[in-house]
C-alpha cells in the first residue's frame, strides 16, 4: 500500500516539476533538483522519515535496472552507426573516463577528502547501478557513490549544454558523446532534447563509459 502511495506521489511531483521546468527554464528548476526538493519538503511536513520514503519508493529506483537492460534496444537499432563510428566512440570515451577519474582524484586530494570518500567518488560519472558495483569492487561505499552519481547528473544536466555552447561544439556525435560520458542517464535525457542522433550517441557513450570504467576498476583492484 505504502509503495503505491509513494510511487504515485513521486510520479505526480516528477510530472509537475517537468511542467514547471518547461515554463521556467532556469537551472535551479531542473526536475532532478526541483522534484527531490519538493519531496523533501513534503515528507518533512507529513513527518515521513527519509528511510521510510526510500523504502516506499523502491519500485521506482528498482526501475533503473530494467532501464539499463533496455539500452540494448538503441544499440541494436543503431548497429550500423556504431560500426561506422566505433573508432571515434572508443577513443573519445577512453579519454573521457580517464579524464573523469584523474580529475576527480586530483581535485579530491586538493580539498583533502578522506580515502573512503575518494574511492567512493571515483566512479561518479557512470550510471548508478554500475557505479555502485565499481565502488564496491574498489572498496568504496556504494550508497555514498549513488549520492555523487546524482550530483554529477544534476551538475552535468545543467552545465553540459553551456559547455557545448562555450566550445561551440557542432556535431551530433560530439554533443551526444559528451553528454552521455559526463552525465550518464541525466545527460542522455538532455541529449533527447537536442535530437535523435545526439540521444543515440549519448546512450552509447553511457554504455561504453560503464564498460571502460569497469575495466579501469578491475585493473585498479588487481594492481593496488
Amino acid at each position: 500500500m505504502i509503495i503505491v502511495v509513494f510511487t504515485i506521489v513521486t510520479y505526480l511531483i516528477y510530472l509537475l516539476s517537468k511542467k514547471i521546468y518547461k515554463k521556467i527554464i532556469i537551472a535551479a528548476f531542473h526536475p532532478l533538483l526541483l522534484a527531490p526538493i519538493l519531496l523533501i519538503v513534503l515528507i518533512t511536513i507529513t513527518h515521513v522519515s527519509a528511510n521510510q520514503y526510500l523504502q516506499g519508493s523502491k519500485l521506482l529506483s528498482h526501475m533503473l535496472a530494467p532501464a539499463t537492460v533496455a539500452f540494448a534496444v538503441p544499440i541494436y537499432k543503431n548497429l550500423a552507426i556504431i560500426k561506422k563510428y566505433i573508432g571515434t566512440i572508443a577513443v573519445s570515451i577512453t579519454v573521457g573516463t580517464l579524464v573523469a577519474m584523474i580529475s576527480t582524484f586530483l581535485l579530491s586530494k586538493l580539498i583533502h577528502l578522506s580515502d573512503d570518500f575518494i574511492v567512493s567518488i571515483l566512479p561518479r560519472s557512470i550510471t548508478t547501478p554500475i557505479a555502485m558495483e565499481v565502488s564496491k569492487e574498489i572498496g568504496g561505499l556504494p550508497a555514498l557513490t549513488t549520492v555523487f552519481v546524482i550530483i554529477t547528473g544534476i551538475a552535468g544536466g545543467i552545465i553540459g549544454p553551456k559547455v557545448l555552447k562555450w566550445l561551440s561544439i557542432k556535431t551530433p556525435i560530439a554533443k551526444g558523446l559528451a553528454l552521455g560520458m559526463g552525465a550518464h542517464g541525466v545527460g542522455t535525457s538532455k541529449a533527447l532534447e537536442y535530437g535523435k542522433q545526439e540521444s543515440v550517441f549519448s546512450s552509447l557513450a553511457m554504455i561504453f563509459a560503464a564498460l571502460i570504467t569497469l575495466v579501469w576498476g578491475t585493473l585498479l583492484t588487481t594492481f593496488i
Partner: protein, 122 residues
C-alpha cells in the same frame, strides 16, 4: 491499450534482467547483472530469438523517463549530513569542475577524431 502494452513489455524486459542475475553467478567478473541483461537482450535481438516489437515500446518508455528513477536516490541525499557541510560544498564544486572538464575534453576529442576520420575517407 498502449499503457498495458508498455507494462507488459517492461515485464518482459525483466526476464532478461533475471537471466542477467542468473548469469552473474557463473561469471567471476565485477559486471553488474543489469549490464549482463543488456548484453543478453542484445544477443537475443541479433539472433532473432525475440522480435524488436516485443520490447521496443517498453524500452522507449523506460529510457524516456530515466530521470524519474533517480529521484528517490536524490531524496536520499538528506541522509548524508556531510554533504550540507563546508566539505560538501567543496565536493559539489569538485564534481561541477570535473564534469565540465570531462564533457569539454570528450566533445573536443570526438570532434577531432571524427573530422580526421572523414578526411582519411576522402
Amino acid at each position: 491499450m498502449k499503457i498495458i502494452g508498455v507494462i507488459l513489455q517492461i515485464g518482459f524486459l525483466h526476464v532478461f534482467l533475471f537471466l542477467g542475475i542468473a548469469l552473474k553467478y557463473f561469471i567471476p567478473l565485477p559486471i553488474p547483472s543489469s549490464m549482463l541483461g543488456l548484453f543478453l537482450l542484445f544477443v537475443a535481438l541479433c539472433c532473432n530469438i525475440i522480435k524488436l516489437e516485443w520490447v521496443e515500446q517498453g524500452a522507449k518508455w523506460l529510457m524516456a523517463e530515466l530521470l524519474l528513477f533517480f529521484i528517490p536516490s536524490a531524496v536520499g541525499i538528506v541522509n548524508y549530513q556531510q554533504i550540507f557541510s563546508l566539505q560538501g560544498i567543496g565536493i559539489v564544486f569538485l564534481i561541477l569542475i570535473s564534469t565540465m572538464i570531462v564533457m569539454g575534453v570528450t566533445a573536443l576529442t570526438a570532434e577531432k577524431v571524427s573530422a580526421k576520420r572523414k578526411e582519411e575517407g576522402h
